[in-house]
Amino acid sequence: MSITSHEKLLHVGGVTVRFGGLVALSEVSLTIRPRTVVGVIGPNGAGKTTLFNVVCGFIRPETGDLSWKGRPLRKHRPDQLAGLGIARTLQGLGLFGGLTVLENVMTGAGRLARTGSLASLLGTGKSARDERELRDRSMAVLTELDVAHVAQLHPGALPYGVRKRVALARALVSEPELLLLDEPASGLSTGEMDELADRIRALTEKTAVVLVEHHMDLVMRVCDEVVVLDFGEVIASGSPDEVRVDPAVADAYLGTAPEELPSA
């Protein structure tokens, strides 16, 4: 289904999540449009990762609804996400230590596979061709991210910055329409962060991005819209410039006066 940039890709409407007596998300709404970058910021415990987990189907909201391209997402499972065209990177990377870098990325390419498990089990010619294509596609993404030289290595032995790129390659290989990035800048050097910012902006040619991030410089630089969470509630949303001068944000999130916030 093709959609224009004015339409909603993902819509989260009035989502509430409680863990026992703790309100993790309260009436949170969010709309992601195609080829835009939306930053979700807030102090630790604000509910950012919980929001990602709701979108991914790991947590069922108590109230509220989600829709993808106008169709309701009800009781969706995490394993359906890739098929919908949504990919996510994890804060802890979550690379498979026992698989090579190339195998890690190929695992993310399953959405593009044209043959099923039975064909793979039987080793049919079609499945062999399919696997060759997935391998080539995975190598192409690794090359694009300048990590093709480590394709046959296991991720455990690689520097953190390289592992981050591998995790990003694994998310991008399925050609998602929406990419959820969970703290992609943590542990990166200034140079690597600049490179990441350019890459995120470049992604918007094809993909929408939701960015959970603590590095305000990066958020203000790459996002079209920023949503600020505090204690599970949306306390502000708008363009980076609007959010930067919002007194509620300065007070609740940064604890500094608006004029002290970093500029883009």
Partner: protein, 283 residues
Amino acid sequence: MTTFFNLTLAGLSSGAVFAALGLSLVIIYRATRVVNFAQPALALISSYVAYSVTKGTGSYWLGFAAAIVVGTVLGIAVERLLVRPLRNAPELSPIIATMGLLLVLQAVAGMIWSNEPHAFSYAFDFRGRFSAADLFAVLAVLVTATGVLLLFKFTSLGLRMRAAAFNPEVARLLGVRVGVMLTLGWGLAAAVGSLAGLLAVPPFISPTVLDEVFVFALTAAVLGGLDNPLGTIVGGLALGIGLSYVAGLLGPELVPLAALAILVSVLAVRPAGLFGRATARRV
């Protein structure tokens, strides 16, 4: 030298059986961290099915095929009905459950087919130093094990199965249907276990016929590394040959003792097995 050669040949076919049953344990352990103590019982039931079908039709190979199919279905059923409901229970629970199932299925086998031994055919002529039946056992296991290793290493299905085993939550996010992968893994393991049963049972089948073989298979898996299919195959063959030397040179009564000594020694000195990698464990 001739004795040595003969003992090596004799050990190869029994080692192949230990390797196959050990491999069935490893496939499940890698995916779920469960040592499936019910595996010999699943192999036993499928071997009894082979016995009945062969007796009814007169065809060994029809019985053979029926055993593999029934074994696969049983493996899938055990995962779906017994192990999956316990996925959030303490990690010992599914292991204890498979132990319970072992006892139940052995009792059921006795009730259906009686506890008396029945004659069970070999696939081929079993007479001679390294008989056709021995050769078939070695080849069948090597071909099956190679197929399993190729499946894991070179197919996208194998890749998804490995990903599901390494980190189910992340695998789910990448679109892997972890539940389906686990079911397939249990089915595949039970099929390999059934093959081991068919090779180990002759010349007589009774409800406890695979008990000792299971101890040897578990020893092979521990020896090779419970996480390592290739190591288990090598471990199974090495154990078969080693126990054959013990039987031939020191006496057959010492074979179980030797197997247990190897099992305990490996666990004490190198718990990850000769080919396994030590991993951190959450406590």
